[in-house]
């Protein structure tokens, strides 16, 4: 697989179909297999793993179309009675349908809106810094949050945004911007902002790596030529640096849109909603994934939960292929 950061082409190279019967005898296929049996073994171990942990559970999708209960066990997945699209219809008519879909889309779109420009701006800024130790330090610091688990981030957020004695509230009170502390962690209207804000904090430094790498690939003589022609710093950034990362932008954008239901580039919606969500802010924090999760694990309705998850998977696959296609049409470069 080769990823061209300048144009954004991700190509699966070397997908050579095996040659058979090109004037050679059938036996040679077996002979070839025998020659590479160790290599094949290497790969087949991986396939075996996939079969057990990925493809066997896929049969579980069946239960989305059936009347199934966990007491039926594994065999029950095959023997339980069919009920067609009953669960799917139930989801569309569910009173929570618009709430969870709305939240999922809103959070994801807001994330794309804010977490998209941030790494680009950071990469541009870092690129303009000439004092190398400083640049290295800032870079190192910027990807620290990426390695911290969402659990820790939730813990930090719990202290920072706390209604009683939280840093943020204290500062806002001191500066007389607000009169009473804001219940940021509890009330629904803050959740979206909280989710997007923490995501920006956590992901920006990390994603700026990709853009920085693309910027580093730009021919320096381009900048010199532009300066000769009288272009100032900002103009050079706008006309040379930005277009050079067009490919990287497309890649990240397609990934983000494809992952729309999962939340932004990193798919963090689920963890955020699980960790920062609670009963009170659920009108804004409950998303498709957490809803399906509760339906299955808490209410025990595994068949209904499976149906909801299935819808989400299908939509995600459709999204990533169509966003890739649209990107290809618009900008000429795409993910695959």
């Amino acid at each position: 697989m080769k990823l061209n950061l300048m144009t954004g082409d991700l190509m699966m190279t070397d997908l050579s179909v095996f040659r058979v019967n090109q004037g050679k005898k059938r036996n040679s296929l077996l002979l070839q297999l025998k020659k590479q049996y160790m290599i094949q073994l290497f790969v087949l171990c991986g396939i075996a793993f996939l079969v057990v942990f990925n493809y066997t559970p896929m049969f579980g999708i069946l239960i989305a179309f059936k009347d199934y209960s966990i007491t039926d066990g594994v065999s029950g997945m095959f023997t339980a009675p069919w009920n067609g699209f009953a669960h799917f219809l139930e989801f569309f008519n569910d009173h929570m349908f618009w709430v969870v879909v709305g939240n999922t889309l809103a959070i994801s779109l807001l994330k794309i809106l804010f977490t998209f420009p941030a790494p680009i701006i950071l990469a541009l800024v870092l690129n303009e810094i000439t004092i190398t130790p400083l640049k290295r330090f800032a870079q190192t610091v910027s990807y620290l949050p990426h390695f911290i688990s969402w659990v820790i981030v939730a813990g930090i957020a719990g202290s920072f945004f706390s209604q009683t004695r939280g840093v943020v509230n204290e500062i806002l009170l001191q500066m007389n911007i607000i009169e009473n502390p804001l219940a940021i962690l509890i009330e629904p209207q803050y959740f979206w902002g909280l989710a997007v804000g923490t995501e920006v904090w956590k992901a920006t430094g990390w994603w700026s790596i990709i853009f920085l790498a693309a910027i580093a690939g730009v021919d320096p003589t381009l900048y010199e030529a532009a300066q000769m022609d009288g272009a100032g710093r900002l103009k050079r950034i706008w006309h040379i640096t930005l277009p050079s990362i067009k490919g990287a932008i497309v890649v990240v954008l397609v990934l983000s849109i494809g992952n729309l239901l999962g939340g932004g580039i990193g798919g963090s919606n689920f963890e955020q909603s699980m960790l920062l969500g609670n009963v009170i802010n659920s009108p804004r924090s409950e998303i498709i994934q957490t809803y399906a999760f509760r339906i299955a694990m808490v209410e025990g309705r595994f068949d209904y939960g499976a149906a909801i998850t299935f819808i989400q998977s299908v939509v995600s696959v459709v999204l990533i292929f169509s966003s890739n296609h649209i990107m290809k049409r618009i900008s000429g470069s795409s993910l695959f």
């Binding site: 070397d14 095996f18 070839q32 991986g46 594994v74 390695f147 930090i156 009683t164 939960g305």
Partner: protein, 295 residues
């Protein structure tokens, strides 16, 4: 980035850039600093608020309490164990499969690729996965932290690209010398792939270290829980108002609160990562670029 005379615009842009950078560094680091100073402050005193720049009443008892608490120490042990055992296993297994996939004349290559890629986007969902784990006897079992993680499909592709980019002459000379594929893999390919292995060890290690979901839903035994899981337990407690916390005084101490203990736990959970990742920076930046066409 500029040659010749520096214009006013240069100075303004520079000022802007340095300011933004300053803000970024501060906003990134301050939360960690905040947790550190709170973990070094007496819990009851911290509950009164106002600890923003340095500890008011310095103490190490939060950490002492942490290391004396069997719940936390069990979790620490489990987390360290799964990271030390699971990470090399995953790296080893994934690289092995990737090496196979990277072989130039692999028969059925296209089929294999399709199978791997498809499994990345489509899954059967949590419940069937749970049922599979159950039938394999992995529930409530330490191995549930190791075996289902053995193959990392994302790094599978990264490693495959990496191996494919290795100079073919290296591998061919191995064949010429009469070595089998297994020998070539271990004696020639692995030693050359250190940047890849370092990157994978870091990322997969961090994932193992931070994981909490499997500890929460696939395990019932209290002594098999991980640090991440204990953290969630405490967080759910501490999101309650501070006064209620004061009422939950830990036995034998009137100065430690659940929150201050949590702060110490967070530092213990984060410190290893903070110490390790800067040294592997060079590798993982390269790792992010693996497989990309050099301009």
């Amino acid at each position: 980035m500029s040659i010749g005379k520096r214009t006013i615009e240069d100075y303004i842009v520079d000022l802007l850039c340095y300011s933004i950078l300053l803000v970024v560094v501060f906003v990134t680091l301050y939360p960690f600093y905040f947790v550190i100073i709170n973990s070094l402050n007496e819990g009851m005193d911290a509950a009164r608020g106002g600890i923003y720049l340095w500890p008011r009443r310095f103490t190490l008892e939060n950490y002492a309490e942490f290391f004396n608490d069997p719940k936390w120490m069990d979790a620490l042990f489990v987390t360290v164990a799964r990271t030390i055992i699971g990470t090399p296993l995953t790296v080893f297994f994934t690289c092995m499969v990737a090496y196979g996939l990277s072989h130039k004349n692999l028969i059925f290559k296209k089929t294999y690729f399709v199978l791997f890629v498809f499994s990345m986007y489509f899954s059967g969902g949590l419940v069937p996965y749970y049922v599979v784990l159950r039938s394999l006897g992995l529930l409530n079992n330490f191995l549930v932290y190791i075996i289902p993680w053995a193959l990392n499909t994302f790094f599978l592709f990264v490693a495959t690209a990496f191996f494919r980019d290795l100079p073919q002459e290296m591998i061919e000379s191995g064949y010429i010398d009469g070595a089998g594929d297994m020998k070539i893999y271990f004696r020639i390919v692995i030693p050359v792939s250190m940047p890849l292995i370092a990157t994978m060890l870091l990322f997969i290690g961090v994932t193992q270290w931070n994981s909490w979901f499997d500890a929460a839903y696939f395990v019932r035994y209290d002594h098999l829980r991980t640090l991440g899981y204990r953290m969630i337990e405490v967080i759910n407690q501490s999101l309650a108002p501070a006064d209620a916390q004061a009422a939950l005084l830990l036995a034998g101490s009137r100065r430690i609160t659940p929150l201050s203990l949590q702060m110490a736990a967070m530092i213990v959970a984060t410190a290893p990562i903070i110490f390790v990742y800067p040294f592997l920076q060079k590798h993982f930046i390269k790792g992010m670029m693996l497989g990309s066409v050099k301009g």
